[in-house]
Amino acid sequence: MSATGTFDSWPADPMDLGPLYPLVGSEILMTVICSLVFAGFFIWKIKLEKHKYEKETAALNGGND
Protein backbone atom coordinates (compact mmCIF):
# COMPACT_ATOMS: atom_id res chain seq x y z
CA MET A 1 0.00 0.00 0.00
CA SER A 2 1.15 3.53 -0.80
CA ALA A 3 2.65 5.39 2.18
CA THR A 4 0.29 8.33 1.77
CA GLY A 5 -2.41 7.29 -0.74
CA THR A 6 -5.23 4.78 -0.84
CA PHE A 7 -3.94 2.78 -3.81
CA ASP A 8 -0.58 1.59 -5.14
CA SER A 9 -1.58 0.57 -8.67
CA TRP A 10 -4.15 1.95 -11.09
CA PRO A 11 -7.16 -0.36 -10.83
CA ALA A 12 -8.66 -2.01 -13.91
CA ASP A 13 -12.01 -0.42 -13.15
CA PRO A 14 -11.59 3.36 -12.66
CA MET A 15 -14.90 3.43 -10.79
CA ASP A 16 -13.05 1.81 -7.91
CA LEU A 17 -11.10 5.05 -7.62
CA GLY A 18 -12.35 7.82 -5.37
CA PRO A 19 -10.06 10.52 -4.03
CA LEU A 20 -6.60 10.60 -5.63
CA TYR A 21 -4.86 12.99 -3.23
CA PRO A 22 -2.59 11.80 -0.42
CA LEU A 23 -3.53 11.70 3.25
CA VAL A 24 -7.21 10.91 2.73
CA GLY A 25 -8.93 11.26 6.11
CA SER A 26 -7.00 14.35 7.15
CA GLU A 27 -9.35 16.80 5.39
CA ILE A 28 -10.71 18.36 8.57
CA LEU A 29 -7.21 18.90 9.93
CA MET A 30 -6.15 20.47 6.62
CA THR A 31 -9.21 22.74 6.73
CA VAL A 32 -8.34 23.88 10.27
CA ILE A 33 -4.71 24.58 9.28
CA CYS A 34 -5.81 26.48 6.18
CA SER A 35 -8.29 28.55 8.21
CA LEU A 36 -5.65 29.44 10.80
CA VAL A 37 -3.13 30.46 8.14
CA PHE A 38 -5.83 32.53 6.43
CA ALA A 39 -6.83 34.31 9.65
CA GLY A 40 -3.16 34.79 10.53
CA PHE A 41 -2.53 36.52 7.21
CA PHE A 42 -5.20 39.12 7.95
CA ILE A 43 -3.99 39.73 11.49
CA TRP A 44 -0.41 40.13 10.23
CA LYS A 45 -1.45 42.52 7.45
CA ILE A 46 -3.56 44.77 9.68
CA LYS A 47 -0.83 44.97 12.33
CA LEU A 48 1.80 45.63 9.67
CA GLU A 49 -0.21 48.45 8.14
CA LYS A 50 -0.89 50.01 11.53
CA HIS A 51 2.81 50.00 12.38
CA LYS A 52 3.87 51.14 8.92
CA TYR A 53 1.51 54.09 8.77
CA GLU A 54 2.32 55.22 12.32
CA LYS A 55 6.00 55.22 11.42
CA GLU A 56 5.45 56.93 8.11
CA THR A 57 3.15 59.59 9.54
CA ALA A 58 5.68 60.39 12.25
CA ALA A 59 8.45 60.64 9.65
CA LEU A 60 6.37 62.86 7.39
CA ASN A 61 5.31 65.15 10.22
CA GLY A 62 8.89 65.34 11.49
CA GLY A 63 10.15 66.15 8.01
CA ASN A 64 13.02 63.69 8.38
CA ASP A 65 12.10 61.25 5.62
Partner: protein, 465 residues
Protein backbone atom coordinates in the same frame (compact mmCIF):
# COMPACT_ATOMS: atom_id res chain seq x y z
CA UNK B 1 -19.17 8.00 -17.86
CA UNK B 2 -20.00 4.45 -18.92
CA UNK B 3 -20.84 5.25 -22.56
CA UNK B 4 -19.30 7.57 -25.11
CA UNK B 5 -22.23 9.99 -25.32
CA UNK B 6 -22.62 10.60 -21.61
CA UNK B 7 -18.83 10.83 -21.22
CA UNK B 8 -18.68 13.36 -24.05
CA UNK B 9 -21.41 15.43 -22.47
CA UNK B 10 -19.74 15.49 -19.04
CA UNK B 11 -16.24 16.13 -20.35
CA UNK B 12 -17.53 18.83 -22.73
CA UNK B 13 -19.22 20.56 -19.80
CA UNK B 14 -16.07 20.25 -17.71
CA UNK B 15 -13.96 21.72 -20.53
CA UNK B 16 -16.53 24.44 -21.31
CA UNK B 17 -16.39 25.84 -17.78
CA UNK B 18 -12.63 25.51 -17.67
CA UNK B 19 -12.39 27.71 -20.79
CA UNK B 20 -14.80 30.28 -19.35
CA UNK B 21 -12.63 30.53 -16.25
CA UNK B 22 -9.56 31.27 -18.36
CA UNK B 23 -11.51 33.92 -20.32
CA UNK B 24 -12.86 35.47 -17.13
CA UNK B 25 -9.34 35.79 -15.77
CA UNK B 26 -9.02 38.61 -18.31
CA UNK B 27 -11.64 40.57 -16.36
CA UNK B 28 -9.29 40.66 -13.43
CA UNK B 29 -6.28 41.54 -15.56
CA UNK B 30 -8.41 44.33 -17.02
CA UNK B 31 -9.45 45.60 -13.59
CA UNK B 32 -5.81 45.70 -12.48
CA UNK B 33 -4.71 47.64 -15.56
CA UNK B 34 -7.68 49.94 -15.36
CA UNK B 35 -7.29 50.76 -11.69
CA UNK B 36 -3.54 51.29 -11.83
CA UNK B 37 -4.02 53.49 -14.90
CA UNK B 38 -6.66 55.53 -13.08
CA UNK B 39 -4.49 55.97 -9.98
CA UNK B 40 -1.96 58.77 -9.78
CA UNK B 41 1.71 58.06 -10.31
CA UNK B 42 2.40 58.20 -6.56
CA UNK B 43 -0.10 55.39 -5.82
CA UNK B 44 0.57 52.82 -8.56
CA UNK B 45 2.16 49.95 -6.63
CA UNK B 46 -0.26 50.15 -3.73
CA UNK B 47 -3.21 50.14 -6.14
CA UNK B 48 -1.81 47.15 -8.01
CA UNK B 49 -1.16 45.09 -4.88
CA UNK B 50 -4.50 45.94 -3.31
CA UNK B 51 -6.29 44.55 -6.34
CA UNK B 52 -3.95 41.65 -7.14
CA UNK B 53 -4.06 40.24 -3.59
CA UNK B 54 -7.83 40.13 -3.78
CA UNK B 55 -7.29 37.00 -5.90
CA UNK B 56 -5.83 34.76 -3.17
CA UNK B 57 -7.93 36.28 -0.41
CA UNK B 58 -11.27 35.60 -2.11
CA UNK B 59 -10.09 32.25 -3.50
CA UNK B 60 -9.30 30.82 -0.07
CA UNK B 61 -12.45 32.26 1.46
CA UNK B 62 -14.56 30.86 -1.34
CA UNK B 63 -12.95 27.45 -0.88
CA UNK B 64 -13.47 27.47 2.89
CA UNK B 65 -17.07 28.66 3.06
CA UNK B 66 -18.34 30.50 -0.06
CA UNK B 67 -19.08 27.46 -2.20
CA UNK B 68 -20.98 25.70 0.58
CA UNK B 69 -22.96 28.86 1.30
CA UNK B 70 -24.23 29.02 -2.30
CA UNK B 71 -25.97 25.66 -2.03
CA UNK B 72 -26.89 25.76 1.64
CA UNK B 73 -28.96 28.96 1.82
CA UNK B 74 -31.07 28.74 -1.34
CA UNK B 75 -34.22 28.41 0.80
CA UNK B 76 -33.37 31.51 2.84
CA UNK B 77 -33.14 29.53 5.13
CA UNK B 78 -36.59 29.74 6.67
CA UNK B 79 -38.48 31.08 3.64
CA UNK B 80 -39.02 28.06 1.41
CA UNK B 81 -37.29 25.50 3.64
CA UNK B 82 -34.28 24.93 5.85
CA UNK B 83 -30.56 24.73 5.18
CA UNK B 84 -29.91 22.51 2.17
CA UNK B 85 -27.46 19.66 2.21
CA UNK B 86 -24.32 20.42 0.22
CA UNK B 87 -21.92 17.76 1.37
CA UNK B 88 -19.88 18.03 -1.86
CA UNK B 89 -19.13 21.70 -1.18
CA UNK B 90 -17.74 21.71 2.38
CA UNK B 91 -13.95 22.14 2.42
CA UNK B 92 -13.37 18.78 4.05
CA UNK B 93 -15.35 16.89 1.40
CA UNK B 94 -13.39 14.44 -0.71
CA UNK B 95 -15.13 16.03 -3.71
CA UNK B 96 -13.33 19.32 -3.02
CA UNK B 97 -10.16 17.66 -4.32
CA UNK B 98 -8.87 15.40 -7.08
CA UNK B 99 -11.40 12.63 -7.46
CA UNK B 100 -12.22 10.05 -10.13
CA UNK B 101 -15.90 9.78 -9.30
CA UNK B 102 -15.82 6.28 -7.87
CA UNK B 103 -17.41 5.06 -4.67
CA UNK B 104 -17.46 7.64 -1.88
CA UNK B 105 -15.29 7.13 1.17
CA UNK B 106 -17.65 9.13 3.36
CA UNK B 107 -21.19 8.34 4.47
CA UNK B 108 -22.12 11.97 3.80
CA UNK B 109 -21.87 11.37 0.07
CA UNK B 110 -23.72 9.05 -2.27
CA UNK B 111 -22.46 7.30 -5.41
CA UNK B 112 -24.61 9.77 -7.40
CA UNK B 113 -22.84 12.69 -5.71
CA UNK B 114 -19.41 11.45 -6.64
CA UNK B 115 -20.41 10.51 -10.18
CA UNK B 116 -21.88 13.97 -10.80
CA UNK B 117 -19.49 16.24 -8.95
CA UNK B 118 -16.08 14.60 -9.38
CA UNK B 119 -15.55 16.23 -12.77
CA UNK B 120 -17.69 19.32 -12.34
CA UNK B 121 -17.13 20.53 -8.78
CA UNK B 122 -13.79 22.22 -9.45
CA UNK B 123 -14.85 23.98 -12.64
CA UNK B 124 -18.22 25.10 -11.24
CA UNK B 125 -16.44 26.32 -8.11
CA UNK B 126 -13.93 28.22 -10.21
CA UNK B 127 -16.61 29.81 -12.42
CA UNK B 128 -18.42 31.12 -9.35
CA UNK B 129 -15.11 32.13 -7.81
CA UNK B 130 -14.28 34.29 -10.81
CA UNK B 131 -17.64 36.04 -10.33
CA UNK B 132 -16.57 36.60 -6.71
CA UNK B 133 -13.31 38.20 -7.82
CA UNK B 134 -15.33 40.48 -10.09
CA UNK B 135 -17.60 41.52 -7.22
CA UNK B 136 -14.51 42.34 -5.13
CA UNK B 137 -12.82 44.17 -7.98
CA UNK B 138 -15.84 46.42 -8.51
CA UNK B 139 -15.34 47.72 -4.96
CA UNK B 140 -11.62 48.02 -5.49
CA UNK B 141 -11.82 50.65 -8.21
CA UNK B 142 -14.17 52.94 -6.33
CA UNK B 143 -11.99 53.22 -3.24
CA UNK B 144 -8.51 53.64 -4.73
CA UNK B 145 -5.88 55.99 -3.36
CA UNK B 146 -7.05 56.13 0.27
CA UNK B 147 -8.26 52.77 1.65
CA UNK B 148 -5.97 50.49 3.66
CA UNK B 149 -5.39 47.21 1.85
CA UNK B 150 -6.11 45.06 4.93
CA UNK B 151 -9.50 46.70 5.42
CA UNK B 152 -10.26 46.44 1.72
CA UNK B 153 -9.49 42.72 1.65
CA UNK B 154 -11.81 42.14 4.63
CA UNK B 155 -14.59 44.01 2.82
CA UNK B 156 -13.84 42.16 -0.43
CA UNK B 157 -14.06 38.90 1.51
CA UNK B 158 -17.45 39.93 2.88
CA UNK B 159 -18.80 40.78 -0.57
CA UNK B 160 -16.99 38.12 -2.62
CA UNK B 161 -17.55 35.18 -0.27
CA UNK B 162 -20.67 36.03 1.72
CA UNK B 163 -23.13 38.67 0.48
CA UNK B 164 -22.93 38.07 -3.26
CA UNK B 165 -22.98 34.32 -2.63
CA UNK B 166 -26.15 34.64 -0.55
CA UNK B 167 -27.84 36.72 -3.23
CA UNK B 168 -26.79 34.22 -5.89
CA UNK B 169 -28.26 31.41 -3.79
CA UNK B 170 -31.50 33.36 -3.41
CA UNK B 171 -31.90 34.81 -6.89
CA UNK B 172 -29.42 33.11 -9.19
CA UNK B 173 -30.06 29.41 -8.73
CA UNK B 174 -32.82 27.24 -10.12
CA UNK B 175 -34.43 26.70 -6.71
CA UNK B 176 -33.62 29.98 -4.93
CA UNK B 177 -36.47 31.40 -2.86
CA UNK B 178 -36.50 34.67 -4.81
CA UNK B 179 -37.04 32.75 -8.04
CA UNK B 180 -39.79 30.69 -6.43
CA UNK B 181 -41.63 33.47 -4.64
CA UNK B 182 -40.79 36.63 -6.58
CA UNK B 183 -40.19 35.21 -10.05
CA UNK B 184 -36.82 36.97 -9.91
CA UNK B 185 -34.98 36.84 -13.23
CA UNK B 186 -31.41 38.03 -13.68
CA UNK B 187 -29.83 35.70 -16.22
CA UNK B 188 -26.45 37.45 -16.57
CA UNK B 189 -26.26 39.00 -13.13
CA UNK B 190 -27.25 42.67 -13.52
CA UNK B 191 -28.35 42.70 -9.91
CA UNK B 192 -26.73 39.71 -8.25
CA UNK B 193 -23.22 40.91 -8.98
CA UNK B 194 -23.33 44.45 -10.32
CA UNK B 195 -26.24 45.89 -8.36
CA UNK B 196 -24.96 44.32 -5.16
CA UNK B 197 -21.33 45.36 -5.67
CA UNK B 198 -22.39 48.89 -6.60
CA UNK B 199 -24.48 49.20 -3.44
CA UNK B 200 -21.59 47.82 -1.41
CA UNK B 201 -19.15 50.30 -2.94
CA UNK B 202 -21.47 53.22 -2.18
CA UNK B 203 -21.71 52.20 1.49
CA UNK B 204 -17.92 51.94 1.83
CA UNK B 205 -17.41 55.29 0.08
CA UNK B 206 -19.67 57.02 2.63
CA UNK B 207 -17.44 55.92 5.50
CA UNK B 208 -14.21 56.32 3.58
CA UNK B 209 -14.75 59.89 2.41
CA UNK B 210 -13.29 61.58 -0.66
CA UNK B 211 -9.63 61.80 -1.55
CA UNK B 212 -7.80 64.83 -0.16
CA UNK B 213 -8.46 67.75 -2.47
CA UNK B 214 -11.19 66.04 -4.47
CA UNK B 215 -13.74 68.73 -3.60
CA UNK B 216 -13.23 72.46 -3.42
CA UNK B 217 -14.38 74.49 -0.43
CA UNK B 218 -17.56 75.42 -2.31
CA UNK B 219 -18.28 71.70 -2.81
CA UNK B 220 -17.56 71.49 -6.52
CA UNK B 221 -15.48 68.51 -7.54
CA UNK B 222 -11.98 68.60 -8.98
CA UNK B 223 -11.15 66.08 -11.69
CA UNK B 224 -8.23 63.81 -10.78
CA UNK B 225 -6.95 62.61 -14.16
CA UNK B 226 -5.74 59.09 -14.87
CA UNK B 227 -1.96 58.79 -14.87
CA UNK B 228 -2.02 56.47 -17.89
CA UNK B 229 -5.01 56.54 -20.22
CA UNK B 230 -3.63 53.68 -22.33
CA UNK B 231 -3.64 51.33 -19.37
CA UNK B 232 -7.22 52.37 -18.67
CA UNK B 233 -8.27 51.75 -22.29
CA UNK B 234 -6.52 48.38 -22.56
CA UNK B 235 -7.95 47.38 -19.18
CA UNK B 236 -11.46 48.19 -20.31
CA UNK B 237 -11.01 46.23 -23.55
CA UNK B 238 -9.82 43.27 -21.47
CA UNK B 239 -12.86 43.55 -19.22
CA UNK B 240 -15.08 43.52 -22.33
CA UNK B 241 -13.24 40.42 -23.57
CA UNK B 242 -13.53 38.65 -20.25
CA UNK B 243 -17.21 39.48 -20.18
CA UNK B 244 -17.71 37.00 -23.03
CA UNK B 245 -16.42 34.30 -20.73
CA UNK B 246 -18.68 35.58 -17.98
CA UNK B 247 -21.74 35.28 -20.21
CA UNK B 248 -20.76 31.77 -21.28
CA UNK B 249 -20.13 30.77 -17.67
CA UNK B 250 -23.64 31.87 -16.72
CA UNK B 251 -25.03 29.20 -19.05
CA UNK B 252 -25.20 25.46 -18.72
CA UNK B 253 -23.77 24.41 -22.09
CA UNK B 254 -25.80 21.26 -22.75
CA UNK B 255 -28.76 19.69 -21.02
CA UNK B 256 -32.01 17.99 -21.87
CA UNK B 257 -34.63 20.73 -21.68
CA UNK B 258 -37.50 18.47 -22.83
CA UNK B 259 -38.04 17.00 -19.37
CA UNK B 260 -38.31 13.34 -18.48
CA UNK B 261 -40.62 12.43 -21.35
CA UNK B 262 -38.54 13.67 -24.25
CA UNK B 263 -35.11 14.59 -25.49
CA UNK B 264 -34.09 18.04 -26.73
CA UNK B 265 -30.61 19.16 -25.90
CA UNK B 266 -29.79 22.86 -25.63
CA UNK B 267 -27.92 25.42 -23.59
CA UNK B 268 -29.81 26.70 -20.55
CA UNK B 269 -29.55 29.60 -18.14
CA UNK B 270 -28.69 29.25 -14.46
CA UNK B 271 -32.47 28.85 -13.93
CA UNK B 272 -32.42 25.82 -16.29
CA UNK B 273 -34.58 27.78 -18.76
CA UNK B 274 -33.64 27.39 -22.43
CA UNK B 275 -31.39 29.82 -24.26
CA UNK B 276 -28.69 29.68 -26.92
CA UNK B 277 -25.18 31.05 -27.20
CA UNK B 278 -26.33 32.63 -30.44
CA UNK B 279 -29.04 34.64 -28.67
CA UNK B 280 -26.76 35.98 -25.99
CA UNK B 281 -24.09 36.85 -28.57
CA UNK B 282 -26.58 39.05 -30.42
CA UNK B 283 -27.62 40.73 -27.23
CA UNK B 284 -24.18 41.08 -25.67
CA UNK B 285 -22.87 42.94 -28.71
CA UNK B 286 -25.93 45.10 -29.24
CA UNK B 287 -26.01 46.15 -25.58
CA UNK B 288 -22.27 46.86 -25.71
CA UNK B 289 -22.89 49.02 -28.78
CA UNK B 290 -25.81 50.84 -27.14
CA UNK B 291 -23.75 51.54 -24.04
CA UNK B 292 -20.76 52.81 -26.00
CA UNK B 293 -22.91 55.11 -28.12
CA UNK B 294 -24.77 56.56 -25.16
CA UNK B 295 -21.56 56.85 -23.10
CA UNK B 296 -19.96 58.83 -25.92
CA UNK B 297 -23.13 60.85 -26.53
CA UNK B 298 -24.00 61.84 -22.97
CA UNK B 299 -20.39 62.65 -22.03
CA UNK B 300 -19.78 64.51 -25.31
CA UNK B 301 -17.01 62.18 -26.39
CA UNK B 302 -15.22 61.68 -23.05
CA UNK B 303 -13.06 58.55 -23.38
CA UNK B 304 -13.51 57.39 -19.79
CA UNK B 305 -17.30 57.54 -19.88
CA UNK B 306 -17.46 56.05 -23.36
CA UNK B 307 -15.68 52.90 -22.16
CA UNK B 308 -17.65 52.88 -18.91
CA UNK B 309 -20.77 53.27 -21.02
CA UNK B 310 -19.96 50.09 -22.94
CA UNK B 311 -19.68 48.19 -19.70
CA UNK B 312 -22.76 49.84 -18.21
CA UNK B 313 -24.76 49.02 -21.32
CA UNK B 314 -24.02 45.31 -21.10
CA UNK B 315 -24.70 45.35 -17.36
CA UNK B 316 -28.08 47.07 -17.84
CA UNK B 317 -29.30 44.55 -20.41
CA UNK B 318 -27.81 41.49 -18.72
CA UNK B 319 -30.82 40.61 -16.54
CA UNK B 320 -32.90 39.72 -19.58
CA UNK B 321 -30.30 39.18 -22.29
CA UNK B 322 -31.33 35.52 -22.55
CA UNK B 323 -34.72 36.61 -23.88
CA UNK B 324 -34.54 40.15 -25.30
CA UNK B 325 -34.52 41.09 -28.96
CA UNK B 326 -31.12 42.63 -29.83
CA UNK B 327 -32.68 46.04 -30.51
CA UNK B 328 -34.38 45.94 -27.11
CA UNK B 329 -30.97 45.17 -25.58
CA UNK B 330 -29.46 48.09 -27.53
CA UNK B 331 -32.10 50.63 -26.45
CA UNK B 332 -32.18 49.43 -22.86
CA UNK B 333 -28.40 49.73 -22.66
CA UNK B 334 -28.66 53.33 -23.83
CA UNK B 335 -31.31 54.12 -21.23
CA UNK B 336 -29.29 52.52 -18.42
CA UNK B 337 -26.09 54.36 -19.31
CA UNK B 338 -27.89 57.71 -19.63
CA UNK B 339 -29.47 57.29 -16.18
CA UNK B 340 -26.26 55.91 -14.63
CA UNK B 341 -24.20 58.84 -15.91
CA UNK B 342 -26.67 61.45 -14.69
CA UNK B 343 -27.07 59.75 -11.31
CA UNK B 344 -23.28 59.58 -10.86
CA UNK B 345 -22.85 63.34 -11.11
CA UNK B 346 -25.98 64.11 -9.10
CA UNK B 347 -24.82 61.89 -6.23
CA UNK B 348 -21.27 63.21 -6.48
CA UNK B 349 -22.37 66.84 -6.16
CA UNK B 350 -25.18 66.29 -3.68
CA UNK B 351 -23.44 63.93 -1.24
CA UNK B 352 -19.73 64.57 -2.03
CA UNK B 353 -19.16 60.92 -2.90
CA UNK B 354 -15.77 60.35 -4.52
CA UNK B 355 -16.19 57.25 -6.66
CA UNK B 356 -12.83 57.22 -8.43
CA UNK B 357 -13.90 55.04 -11.35
CA UNK B 358 -17.67 55.51 -11.52
CA UNK B 359 -18.21 51.97 -10.22
CA UNK B 360 -21.41 52.75 -8.34
CA UNK B 361 -22.95 54.19 -11.52
CA UNK B 362 -21.71 51.60 -13.99
CA UNK B 363 -22.40 48.59 -11.81
CA UNK B 364 -24.85 49.66 -9.10
CA UNK B 365 -27.21 52.02 -10.91
CA UNK B 366 -27.03 50.37 -14.35
CA UNK B 367 -27.40 46.88 -12.81
CA UNK B 368 -30.40 47.87 -10.69
CA UNK B 369 -32.08 49.70 -13.58
CA UNK B 370 -31.55 46.56 -15.68
CA UNK B 371 -33.20 44.32 -13.08
CA UNK B 372 -36.25 46.60 -12.84
CA UNK B 373 -36.51 46.99 -16.63
CA UNK B 374 -36.59 43.21 -17.04
CA UNK B 375 -39.70 43.14 -14.87
CA UNK B 376 -41.55 45.29 -17.39
CA UNK B 377 -40.11 43.87 -20.61
CA UNK B 378 -40.53 40.25 -19.49
CA UNK B 379 -43.77 40.75 -17.52
CA UNK B 380 -45.56 37.40 -17.26
CA UNK B 381 -42.72 35.26 -18.63
CA UNK B 382 -42.08 32.07 -16.65
CA UNK B 383 -39.12 32.44 -14.32
CA UNK B 384 -38.47 28.72 -14.19
CA UNK B 385 -39.30 25.38 -15.72
CA UNK B 386 -40.37 24.17 -12.25
CA UNK B 387 -44.11 24.08 -11.69
CA UNK B 388 -45.61 26.54 -9.21
CA UNK B 389 -42.89 29.20 -9.38
CA UNK B 390 -43.95 32.86 -9.65
CA UNK B 391 -43.67 34.45 -13.07
CA UNK B 392 -41.57 37.52 -13.84
CA UNK B 393 -43.24 40.78 -12.75
CA UNK B 394 -42.23 44.41 -12.21
CA UNK B 395 -42.83 44.16 -8.46
CA UNK B 396 -40.82 40.96 -8.20
CA UNK B 397 -37.93 42.62 -10.01
CA UNK B 398 -38.20 45.88 -8.03
CA UNK B 399 -38.13 43.86 -4.80
CA UNK B 400 -35.17 41.92 -6.17
CA UNK B 401 -33.27 45.09 -7.10
CA UNK B 402 -33.81 46.47 -3.58
CA UNK B 403 -32.67 43.21 -1.98
CA UNK B 404 -29.52 43.23 -4.11
CA UNK B 405 -28.53 46.91 -3.97
CA UNK B 406 -29.70 47.76 -0.46
CA UNK B 407 -30.38 44.61 1.55
CA UNK B 408 -27.34 42.56 0.65
CA UNK B 409 -25.20 45.29 -0.94
CA UNK B 410 -25.40 48.58 0.92
CA UNK B 411 -26.40 47.58 4.45
CA UNK B 412 -23.82 44.86 5.27
CA UNK B 413 -20.97 46.94 3.88
CA UNK B 414 -22.19 50.10 5.64
CA UNK B 415 -22.06 48.21 8.95
CA UNK B 416 -18.71 46.52 8.22
CA UNK B 417 -17.00 49.67 6.93
CA UNK B 418 -18.37 51.56 9.95
CA UNK B 419 -16.78 49.05 12.31
CA UNK B 420 -13.44 49.24 10.46
CA UNK B 421 -13.62 53.05 10.58
CA UNK B 422 -14.25 53.05 14.32
CA UNK B 423 -11.30 50.72 14.77
CA UNK B 424 -9.18 53.25 12.87
CA UNK B 425 -8.08 50.79 10.21
CA UNK B 426 -10.19 51.85 7.24
CA UNK B 427 -8.42 54.87 5.81
CA UNK B 428 -4.79 55.66 5.19
CA UNK B 429 -3.52 58.66 7.20
CA UNK B 430 -3.89 61.89 5.25
CA UNK B 431 -0.20 62.75 5.48
CA UNK B 432 0.65 59.45 3.76
CA UNK B 433 -2.13 59.94 1.22
CA UNK B 434 -0.70 63.33 0.24
CA UNK B 435 2.86 62.01 0.10
CA UNK B 436 1.66 59.05 -1.96
CA UNK B 437 0.84 55.48 -0.97
CA UNK B 438 4.08 54.32 -2.58
CA UNK B 439 6.03 56.82 -0.51
CA UNK B 440 7.30 54.12 1.84
CA UNK B 441 8.53 52.06 -1.10
CA UNK B 442 10.29 55.05 -2.65
CA UNK B 443 12.18 55.87 0.54
CA UNK B 444 12.92 52.21 1.30
CA UNK B 445 16.59 51.31 0.86
CA UNK B 446 15.78 48.35 -1.36
CA UNK B 447 14.37 50.76 -3.95
CA UNK B 448 17.04 53.40 -3.50
CA UNK B 449 18.49 53.81 -6.98
CA UNK B 450 21.25 56.16 -5.88
CA UNK B 451 22.49 53.42 -3.56
CA UNK B 452 22.56 50.96 -6.49
CA UNK B 453 24.38 53.47 -8.67
CA UNK B 454 26.99 54.03 -5.97
CA UNK B 455 27.54 50.28 -5.75
CA UNK B 456 27.88 50.07 -9.54
CA UNK B 457 30.48 52.83 -9.58
CA UNK B 458 32.45 51.12 -6.87
CA UNK B 459 32.43 47.76 -8.66
CA UNK B 460 33.01 49.05 -12.21
CA UNK B 461 34.83 52.39 -12.10
CA UNK B 462 34.53 54.16 -15.50
CA UNK B 463 36.59 57.12 -16.57
CA UNK B 464 33.61 58.69 -18.31
CA UNK B 465 31.89 58.93 -14.96
Amino acid sequence: MDNELSALSVIFTEFYYWVTVVMMFLIHVGFCLYEVGMARDKNKVNTLMKNAMLIPVITVGFYLFGWWLYFAVQNGPGITGGLKDASWAVPWSELMGTHMGGKPGSDALTAEDTALWARLNGVFWAAFLLFSWTAGSILSGAVIERIRSGAFWLLALLVGCVTWVIDAAWGWSDTGWMVQKLGYHDAYASGVIHGLAGGSALAILIHLGPRVGRFREDGTPRVIPAHNVWMVAIGMFMIFTGFWGFYAACNIPIMNIAGEDGAFFSAATIYLTPTTLSAITFNFLMSLAGGLIMGYWVSKGDAFWTFQGGLGGVITASAGNDLYHPIQAFLLAMLGVYCGYRLHYWVERKFKIDDAVGAVATHGYCGSIGVVAAGFLLWGYPSSTHAGYASITPWGQISGALIMFLGLGFIPCYVAAGILRRMGILRIPREVEVAGLDHAIVVDDSYNLSDVEAAERELVPLKSR
